[in-house]
C-alpha cells in the first residue's frame, strides 16, 4: 500500500484548549491558556490542571467522563468525515483508542465501601466492565470491525493510530476511528505528584526553569480510511494522510527515558522511513514536551540532533496539560491542523533556553514549509512513538 493511501478524512478534538476544532484553533492562535487547581476531583493537592470546562450535558456521562470526552471528539470527527447514521452499513470499520484511566477500576468510593463494609454496590464495576472505550464507540456508531483499547500509558493515543494504520494495511478493515482520551482523575493526579514531576505553576515545556507537568484531560480522534474506500463512498478529503508510524521500546527503565533517546530515535527513523520522506521534509514537530526535566531534556536533545537547530517544534501541553492516554490523539489532531492551516502553534510557557537541551521551540505561532509534520509521544515504560502526517492534493 502506498504511503498516501491512508487518508485522514475526519478530526475531532476536545481539551482545555477548546471544545472542537474551531475553538481549539482560536485558542492556539491567541495563545490563551488558563490552568487552575482542579475542580473536578476532590484532592487536597492544588497543582494546576487543565480541565475541560462547560462540557455539553450530553457528554457528561456519570462515572464515565473519559467516554463522554471521547464521544464528543468522535461525533466531530464523524461529522467532518461525512459519516451519518447508517452510512457505513456493510463496511468494516475498526475502532482503536488509547486510554489510561478508563482501563482501570480506580473508583475510590467503591473501594472505600468495599474496605469498610465488604459489600459495595456493583454499579461502578458494571459501569467499568461496560465502559471499554473502543467497544462503546463502536456500539454507539454501529460499527463492525476490529476493536482495541491501547493501554500504553502516555503514548497510547499515538500507538492507537499506529495500530489503525496496521489494520488498514493488513486489510482488516476499510476505515478506523483512532485516537485517545482520558479524564482528569484523582489517582494519576496523586500518582504523578508522588513521582515529584508535577509543577505548582503552569507548565513550561523545554524551558530552562521548567518544574514539571500539569495534568489535563481531553480526547482526540482521527477518522482514517483507505483512499479507495473514501472514493467509493464519495468522501471529500482535505489531502491529509497518515504517512508513517514508528514505535520502539527503550528497554531501559520503567519511568525514565533512555538518556540518549535510543527508542525515540528508532521510532522517528521508522516513521520517517515509512512516510518516504527525510527529516528535512518535516515542517513542524508537535513534541511530547511534558515539561518534566527528564522528558524534555532527552526529547529536545534527540530532536535537535536529528532535525537540526532550525526545526520548528513546539509542545502544546502548555495549552492542554498532559492528557495521558488522550495526548497522542489530541496532538495528532493538532499536528494535522497545523499542516492543513500551514501554521504551527507556539510553545506556550517557554521563556528561556535550556543550554543542556540546546533546542529553542517556537516562541510565536509560525508558518512553515514542507508537506509533512510529526507528532512524538514518550511514555512510562519506555515506549516511544512517532507519527508522520502528510498533505497531498485534496478534493474539498
Amino acid at each position: 500500500m502506498a504511503n498516501e493511501n491512508i487518508l485522514i478524512t475526519g478530526m475531532g478534538v476536545v481539551s482545555a484548549a477548546g471544545k472542537g476544532v474551531e475553538e481549539t484553533l482560536s485558542s492556539l492562535a491567541s495563545g490563551r491558556r488558563d490552568p487552575a487547581p482542579p475542580t473536578l476531583i476532590d484532592s487536597p493537592l492544588k497543582n494546576p490542571a487543565f480541565e475541560v470546562l462547560g462540557l455539553d450535558e450530553k457528554y457528561c456521562i456519570h462515572g464515565q467522563r473519559t467516554l463522554g470526552l471521547m464521544l464528543m471528539a468522535a461525533h466531530e470527527a464523524a461529522s467532518m468525515a461525512g459519516i451519518s447514521q447508517g452510512s457505513l452499513k456493510g463496511a468494516r470499520v475498526g475502532v482503536c483508542l488509547g486510554t489510561t484511566v478508563a482501563s482501570q477500576l480506580n473508583d475510590i468510593s467503591f473501594y472505600r465501601t468495599y474496605k469498610e463494609s465488604g459489600d459495595p454496590g456493583l454499579e461502578p464495576v458494571e459501569r467499568f466492565l461496560g465502559g471499554d472505550l473502543s467497544d462503546c464507540v463502536a456500539e454507539h456508531f454501529g460499527l463492525h470491525g476490529p476493536r482495541m483499547s491501547v493501554v500504553n500509558a502516555c503514548s497510547s493515543g499515538t500507538d492507537a493510530i499506529g495500530v489503525a494504520m496496521s489494520w488498514l494495511r493488513a486489510g482488516l478493515c476499510d476505515m478506523v476511528f483512532a485516537g485517545g482520551a482520558d479524564e482528569l482523575n484523582r489517582v494519576p493526579y496523586a500518582g504523578f505528584n508522588s513521582l515529584g514531576i508535577t509543577s505548582p505553576e503552569p507548565c513550561a515545556p523545554f524551558d530552562k526553569n521548567r518544574r514539571g507537568l500539569n495534568l489535563g484531560e481531553g480526547a482526540g480522534m482521527l477518522v482514517l480510511e483507505r483512499a479507495d474506500f473514501a472514493a467509493s463512498r464519495g468522501a471529500g478529503t482535505s489531502g491529509l494522510y497518515a504517512a508513517g508510524f514508528g514505535a520502539s521500546a527503550d528497554a531501559y527503565h520503567l519511568t525514565a527515558p533512555h538518556p540518549e533517546g535510543k527508542g525515540l530515535r528508532r521510532a522517528i527513523a521508522r516513521a520517517i522511513s515509512e512516510a518516504g520522506c527525510s527529516p528535512s521534509d518535516i515542517g513542524y514537530i508537535n513534541a511530547h514536551g511534558t515539561a518534566t526535566p527528564d522528558n524534555d531534556k532527552v526529547e529536545g536533545q534527540t530532536l535537535l540532533d536529528i532535525f537540526g537547530p532550525d526545526v520548528k517544534v513546539s509542545s502544546t501541553k502548555g495549552y492542554t496539560g498532559h492528557t495521558l492516554g488522550g495526548a497522542g490523539g489530541i496532538e495528532a489532531v493538532f499536528s494535522a491542523l497545523a499542516l492543513r492551516e500551514g501554521l504551527a502553534p507556539m510553545n506556550a510557557g517557554f521563556r528561556e533556553l535550556d543550554d543542556e537541551i540546546g533546542l529553542t521551540p517556537l516562541r510565536e505561532n509560525a508558518s512553515f514549509d514542507g508537506g509533512f509534520v510529526m507528532s512524538t509521544s514518550l511514555a512510562f515504560g519506555g515506549n516511544n512513538a512517532a507519527l508522520v502526517i502528510g498533505l497531498g492534493e485534496g478534493s474539498l
Binding site: P44, L45, T100, S103, Q104, L105, N106, I108, Y111, R112, Y114, K115, G118, L122, V125, L129, D132, S134, H144, P146, R147, M148, S149, V150, V151, N152, A153, D159, G162, V163, S166, W167, R169, A170, L172, R186, V187, P188, A190, G191, F192, N193, S194, L195, G196, A247, S248, A249, D250, A251, Y252, L254, T255, K262, R266, A379, F380, G381, G382, N383
Partner: protein
C-alpha cells in the same frame, strides 16, 4: 496469512513453566486449589526474578513466560547471551515486537495504590506502587529484561483482549513491521476481583478463578513450530467450522466467565468434537491464550488432553470464546 508458533512460555496454576503445563495437559489433571487456579511464584527460578524485586505479580508472571517463550524458540542465546540460566543483561539484537493482552491489568496494585490514598492521603502515596499500577508496566519489564527494542504494546478488550492482540500480531507480520512478535496474555486474581466475580457470576458452576501468563513467539516461517495460526477474528457473525472428522477439534472457552453456558453448546456444530480446558488454568477473560497453548501442544505432540485418547488431531483446532453480549472470538490452528 499464516504465522507459526515457534516458542511458548507458560506460568499457570500448573506451575511456572511450560513443561508443567504440558505435563498437566498430558495427565489430564489440573491444579485447582481451594481458592482456585492460583500461581505460586515460590516455585519459580529465583534467579529469573532478581531484576524484578519491585515488580508486582502480574509483571513477574509476564516476564517469566515471555522469556521462556524466547528461550523455547532458541532466541535468547543470540548476541552472546547464554541460552540457559539468567541473562547477564539485555540481549540486544532480538528484533521483536511485544504485544501483551490483559483484561484487567495490574488491578491488585491499583487497589494497593487506592489503599495508600485512603490510608496516607494524596500526598503520601507510593511512587513505586503508582508506577507499577500502570497497565503497560509488565510489557515494559519484558522489553527491559529481554532486551527487546521493537514496538511494545499493551492492549485490553476484556473478553477478547487476546484475540485482538493476536489479530494485530498477524497484521504486524503481514506488513513486515517486525520479523517476529512476542505475543502474550496475562491476568491476575485478587481479593476484590474475587468478591466482584463471586457476586456477578453467582450461579455459574464453571467459574473458578484463575491467573497466569501465556506467551507465544510468532514468526512468518516455521522453525520446529508447535503449530500454525491460520485465522483469528472477532464479531457477532463468525462461527466455528462444521467438521465431523475425528482429526479436528473445537476448543470452547467454557471457563465460567459467562453465565449462559448453553450459548456455547448452541454454537457447536452437530457431530463436531468439542472440548474445554478451563480445568487446566481456571476462569480468565484472557483464557483463550491458555487454550491456544493447549491446542498447539496437542497439534505438535498429539497429547490426549481432555480426550480419552487422541485419535490423531492432524486437521486443525478451532478455539471459540463468547461474551455475554453475543460477540464471538475464533482462533484457528493447524499443524505446522
Amino acid at each position: 496469512m499464516r504465522a507459526y508458533i515457534n516458542g511458548m512460555g507458560m506460568v499457570s496454576a500448573c506451575g511456572p513453566t511450560l513443561g508443567e503445563f504440558r505435563a498437566a495437559l498430558e495427565a489430564g489433571e489440573g491444579a485447582r486449589r481451594p481458592d482456585g487456579f492460583m500461581v505460586d511464584l515460590k516455585r519459580a527460578d529465583k534467579s529469573r526474578l532478581k531484576k524484578l524485586r519491585r515488580a508486582d505479580k502480574l509483571s513477574k508472571m509476564s516476564v517469566l513466560a515471555a522469556r521462556e517463550a524466547l528461550e523455547d524458540a532458541g532466541l535468547y542465546s543470540i548476541e552472546g547471551k547464554p541460552s540457559e540460566g539468567p541473562a547477564e543483561g539485555p540481549a540486544e539484537g532480538i528484533e521483536a515486537g511485544v504485544i501483551l493482552a490483559t483484561a484487567l491489568g495490574p488491578h491488585t496494585t491499583t487497589f494497593g495504590f487506592l489503599d495508600d490514598i485512603l490510608q496516607y492521603g494524596d500526598s503520601g502515596v507510593s511512587p513505586t506502587m503508582f508506577s507499577n499500577s500502570v497497565h503497560n508496566a509488565a510489557a515494559s519489564y519484558i522489553a527491559s529484561d529481554c532486551g527487546l527494542n521493537g514496538p511494545t504494546l499493551t492492549v485490553t478488550q476484556f473478553m477478547f483482549s487476546f484475540h485482538e492482540a493476536l489479530m494485530l500480531a498477524l497484521a504486524w507480520l503481514r506488513e513486515g513491521r517486525v520479523p517476529r512478535v512476542l505475543l502474550g496474555a496475562a491476568d491476575i486474581h485478587g481479593e476484590v476481583l474475587g468478591h466482584v466475580a463471586g457476586r456477578m457470576l453467582k450461579g455459574s458452576a464453571a467459574y473458578s478463578p484463575g491467573e497466569g501468563a501465556a506467551f507465544f513467539l510468532l514468526e512468518p516461517e516455521p522453525r520446529e513450530a508447535y503449530s500454525a495460526i491460520t485465522s483469528a477474528g472477532t464479531g457477532h457473525d463468525i462461527s466455528p467450522s462444521k467438521s465431523t472428522k475425528k482429526s479436528s477439534l473445537l476448543l470452547i472457552d467454557d471457563d465460567g466467565m459467562i453465565k449462559e453456558r448453553a450459548a456455547y453448546k448452541d454454537l457447536v456444530p452437530e457431530g463436531t468434537e468439542a472440548s474445554s480446558y478451563g480445568w487446566l488454568y481456571g476462569s480468565m477473560m484472557t483464557g483463550s491464550a491458555f487454550n491456544m497453548a493447549a491446542a498447539a501442544l496437542i497439534l505438535k505432540e498429539q497429547l490426549k488432553g481432555s480426550m480419552k485418547e487422541n485419535p490423531g488431531i492432524d486437521e486443525g483446532i478451532e478455539i471459540l470464546r463468547l461474551d455475554c453480549h453475543g460477540r464471538r472470538g475464533l482462533i484457528g490452528l493447524s499443524p505446522a
